[in-house]
């Protein structure tokens, strides 16, 4: 609420134009009433004074008039009484004089009769009025007669109290003066009070009365009232004074006569006296009322119209203020308020235009703001995405790092979760997984292969051992054979020697033959055993050769596998390089978008991980190369072993053949011994035959010995070869173990081999 400078007014008035106008008009009315009251008071006072002055002056004038009249009467009486005619006391002369006085009007006004009075006898001796001649005034009740005045000198004049006598029909006042030059004679003027009172008359509204000191009317417009008690308080006016009084509805001016104790009163009814005051007051009231009516008219027409127009205007302006620019601002008025309406309408129109413009501008600004907002949101979203990506990459990288750590620690079953919003990262993850799968598959293959190698080596060694054992047994057998053959040879030598003694000791021979037969059988058995052992050895050796061949093929496969691993490691190295490049790109992107300290860290992390991976790949490559070298050596060793085995087999085959021969020979020897045994009986008969036979036998024994020797040395050789094979197998086993222990740090999922192979195959 804006403060205005009319703070003195109460708010109720200040805030409403009609109230202000009402107060202003009310103030005007109050001022008018007050001023009217002042005018009324002033006029009333003035008029009152006028009335008072009028009435008192009127009374004074009447009093003066009466005084003059009384003086005239008394003076006239005095002078007339000095006339000589009255001193003559001659009634006949006096009578005409008196008559003439009245007839000629030589007496003052209203003196109706002049009497010549005998004061002593109290009788009108004569009179201007015939009726009065001889009348006794005392008898009539005349005041001057009932209470006769005394005269000290002729100039004395007595004015009687007013009285009325039966003989006269009007009240009378008598003026008496003694006649000079005649005793007890006096001249009496009789004045008609009624006429006098009529002469006093007065204005149309005033009535003049004269009251004597006794309070009786001396003069009254109503003659009947004369000499009646007036009831008026005469008061204590001194001679010649005037006064103003009010009795009831009558106002009066009073004046005391100088000549007599009479008071003249000019009466006037108050309403008449103050009629002008009433009229003026009435007119003033009328004027005030007319003014009030007019002010009210102004208030309800001009003021009310203005207030209504302004209130409407205020309402509409307020409506405009509330934003309603459709308000009707037409006015039927052509004055300033009409102009105000028009101005406001203009203002509204321009406001509307401006608002429209502002609206458009605001809308534009809004759309610009929205654009900016959306741009900002997009930037924000991008930043968030970047951040999310960064953090995602970070987490992913961390995950990858953890997985790679575990992989580096040897758990090749670990896979990264390649699910990523970032295609590059997903590719990295997938490639990484593929690499890991391939690596795992390879390592699994290598492990399996190493296992197989170890197993094969074991088998080889075991077989070699068995071959060795067999060879030893063969050796032993051969030795035994050798020994047997030697012994046989010796015996045969002995036989040959003893053959001569054969006839002597046929029984001995028979038993010896028996013994020989047994021994031969044994030898045959041993030979069979040896044959069997040798065959076994051959089989074993063939087996070994097969195994060795397989081992060699396995090692070659291993070599191929290792080559594949090498390729995979190269792939890993490439992936790592790509990752490294990605990481560098990411860190550059991060630096570019300005929003990723973390992202740079992640990129660095990835880079480090890539480098680590690269190192690990290098390591693996180096190891693979070592394995390959070893595998090569192993192959070479195996090949030599194989060769040797082939040689061993040949040798053993030879030994077998020898053994077969031995067996055959032993059987033959057995059969021969049987024959010997048979022939023992015929020994004697056939000693020569025996001798030859013994010689044959000796030769055969020698051959056997030689062959056994050969077999023994072959067996020895074989044993040596086998030992060598065993050693090689042990060495292979050791290498395989080493490989296994190398691969042991890689944990692979055996069941996933197929998948891994499939993955590897897919990659191929």
């Amino acid at each position: 609420m804006p403060r205005d400078n009319s703070g003195l007014l109460p708010a109720v008035v200040r805030e409403r134009y009609t109230a202000r106008l009402g107060v202003a008009l009310a103030f005007a009315i109050v001022v008018m009433l007050a001023f009217g009251a002042v005018i009324s008071a002033q006029a009333s006072g003035e008029l009152r004074d006028d009335v008072e002055r009028d009435l008192t002056s009127q009374a004074g004038a009447q009093a003066d008039h009466l005084d003059t009249w009384v003086s005239a009467v008394t003076g006239d009486v005095r002078t007339t009484s000095k006339l000589s005619v009255f001193a003559s006391d001659d009634v006949d002369r006096i009578k005409p004089a008196l008559d003439r006085m009245i007839e000629n009007g030589n007496v003052p006004e209203d003196v109706v009769a002049v009497h010549y009075l005998d004061t002593d006898g109290m009788e009108f001796l004569t009179s201007s009025s015939d009726r009065m001649v001889g009348v006794d005034p005392a008898q009539q009740g005349a005041a001057f007669a009932t209470d006769p005045p005394t005269f000290d000198n002729p100039d004395d004049v007595h004015v009687s109290e007013p009285f009325s006598v039966p003989i006269v029909d009007h009240p009378i006042i008598a003026v008496i003066s003694p006649i000079e030059g005649a005793d007890d004679r006096a001249l009496v003027y009789m004045a008609d009070l009624e006429a006098r009172a009529e002469a006093l008359g007065g204005g149309n509204d005033t009535s003049t009365v004269v009251v004597n000191e006794a309070g009786e009317y001396v003069a009254h417009p109503d003659a009947n009232k004369i000499l009646t008690t007036s009831g008026h308080a005469v008061g204590n006016l001194s001679a010649g004074d005037v006064a103003f009084g009010r009795e009831g509805e009558t106002v009066m001016g009073m004046a005391r006569l100088s000549t007599l104790q009479w008071t003249v009163m000019t009466h006037m009814p108050a309403d008449r006296a103050y009629a002008l005051t009433s009229q003026i007051n009435s007119d003033l009231l009328g004027l005030v009322l007319l003014a009030i009516i007019n002010l009210g008219l102004i208030g309800v027409t001009v003021g009310s119209n203005t207030a209504l127009s302004l209130r409407q205007l205020a309402d509409r302006a307020a409506a405009m203020g509330r934003g309603d620019l459709e308000v009707d601002l037409t006015s039927e008025r052509d004055d300033e308020i009409g102009s105000l309406y028009a101005a406001l309408a203009d203002m509204r129109d321009s406001l509307r235009e401006q608002i429209t413009e502002a609206e458009t501008a605001r809308e534009e600004a809004e759309s610009a703001r929205k654009d900016a907002e959306s741009a900002r949101e997009e930037a924000e979203r991008e930043r968030e995405e970047m951040q999310a990506l960064s953090s995602h990459l970070e987490t992913k990288a961390a995950e990858y790092g953890a997985v790679l750590d575990e992989v580096a620690d040897g758990d090749l079953t670990r896979r990264v979760d390649p699910d990523s919003d970032n295609a590059a990262m997903q590719t990295v993850g997938e490639e990484l997984n593929e690499a890991l799968a391939a690596l795992e598959a390879t390592v699994a293959d290598v492990e399996a292969f190493a296992d197989e190698v170890a197993r094969s080596s074991d088998t080889v060694r075991r077989n070699a051992d068995r071959v060795s054992e067999a060879s030893r047994q063969v050796g032993q057998s051969i030795e035994e054979i050798f020994d047997g053959a030697s012994e046989q040879s010796e015996r045969l030598q002995d036989i040959a020697g003893e053959m001569e003694n054969l006839s002597a000791s046929a029984q001995q021979v028979a038993s010896s033959a028996q013994q020989v037969a047994t021994t031969s059988r044994e030898a045959a058995e041993v030979g069979e055993t040896g044959q069997q052992a040798a065959e076994e050895a051959i089989a074993e050796m063939n087996a070994i050769e097969g195994e060795t061949e397989r081992t060699r093929r396995a090692i070659n496969e291993l070599d191929d596998d290792l080559d594949e691993i090498g390729e995979i490691v190269d792939l890993i190295t490439q992936i790592v390089d790509q990752t490294n490049m990605l990481a560098i790109n990411a860190s550059i992107e991060a630096a570019h978008s300005g929003g990723g300290e973390g992202f740079a860290v992640v990129a660095d992390e990835i880079k480090e991980l890539a480098e680590e991976t690269k190192d690990a790949a290098g390591d693996i490559e180096a190891r693979i190369e070592a394995i390959q070298e070893q595998a090569g050596e192993t192959v070479e060793t195996m090949e030599s072993t194989s060769e040797r085995m082939s040689e061993g087999v040949a040798t053993v085959t030879e030994a077998v053949e020898s053994l077969e021969t031995i067996v055959e020979h032993a059987e033959e020897a057995d059969r021969g011994i049987q024959e010997i045994d048979d022939a023992t009986e015929d020994q004697a008969h056939t000693a020569q035959e025996v001798m030859a036979m013994v010689d044959d036998l000796a030769a055969i024994s020698q051959q056997t010995t030689r062959e056994a020797d050969t077999v023994a040395s072959a067996a020895d050789e074989q044993t040596d070869s086998i030992a060598e094979v065993s050693e090689s197998a042990g060495e292979l086993r050791q290498r395989a173990d080493e490989l296994e222990s190398l691969l042991a740090r890689f944990e692979v999922d055996r069941s996933g081999d197929a998948d891994a192979r499939a993955a590897t195959a897919l990659e191929d």
């Binding site: 009322l289 009516i293 309800v300 027409t301 209504l308």
Partner: protein, 240 residues
């Protein structure tokens, strides 16, 4: 030279009312026909007043009252007919209901009747009737200000403005009447019959002709501003 007395005022009043009637009759030229019935109200008022003042100017219908004052019967007859017509017109403009209109018109007639009785009788009946009449007038004022304002709220701004203008006009001017009544010989005689007649004549002419002019002006504004004529004729036709 024409004597400046009560007859002169009544004559002038007659002339004023007659001229006002003629002037207001112009309204029939400018207003649409459907409003004639309503507008006739204000013209009838000035015509009645013209007749009443003519009678008073001719000295017809004067009776001596208990207090010694002269009571002009045509004046009270005039008021008894015209003031309820004014109240009716305002109620119609305000769109007031029949009950409210009837109550206001009845109370206004009662005000005048009681004022007449107060003028005729001497103290203390005079004061009693005056008081009763005043109360009736207070009722009229209450009905016009508070009751009619409710229905006026639903009116157009211009019509509501006309209602307020007429209502304020009537209330402000009519509040002067009791004051005149009290000051005039009908009351306590502080103002003589001539002056009070002058004042009453003036206020009568102003109130009746002024009311008519405001009404005419307002109706013309309604006609020009408010295009919806039906909305206007409907409330204005309440006095059917």
């Amino acid at each position: 030279m024409v004597a400046i007395d009560i007859t002169l005022w009544f004559t002038l009043g007659t002339l004023g009312m007659a001229l006002g009637s003629v002037g207001l009759a112009y309204g029939f030229v400018v207003l649409p026909r459907e409003w004639y019935r309503t507008y006739a109200d204000v013209v009838i008022v000035t015509l009645i007043a013209t007749v009443a003042y003519g009678l008073m100017a001719l000295g017809i219908g004067e009776i001596g009252a208990g207090g010694g004052a002269t009571v002009f019967v045509p004046r009270y007859v005039d008021w008894l007919l015209t003031t309820p017509l004014h109240v009716l017109f305002i109620a119609v403009i305000a769109g007031a209901g029949r009950r409210l209109t009837g109550a206001a018109v009845g109370l206004q007639a009662a005000t005048i009747a009681l004022g007449f009785l107060g003028a005729v009788f001497a103290t203390p009946l005079k004061e009693l009737f005056f008081l009763a009449g005043s109360l009736a007038f207070v009722g009229v004022v209450y009905l016009l200000i508070y009751q009619a304002a409710d229905s006026a709220d639903e009116l157009s701004v211009v019509q509501a403005g006309l209602y307020r203008k007429l209502r304020n006009f009537v209330i402000v001017l009519w509040l002067v009447y009791p004051v005149i009544w009290l000051l005039a010989p009908t009351g306590y005689g502080l103002m003589d019959a001539e002056t009070s007649s002058l004042v009453i004549t003036y206020i009568d002419v102003v109130a009746k002709v002024g009311f008519g002019l405001i009404a005419l002006n307002g109706l013309r504004t309604l006609q020009s501003v408010d295009t919806d004529a039906d909305a206007l004729t409907r409330p204005l036709a309440v006095n059917d």
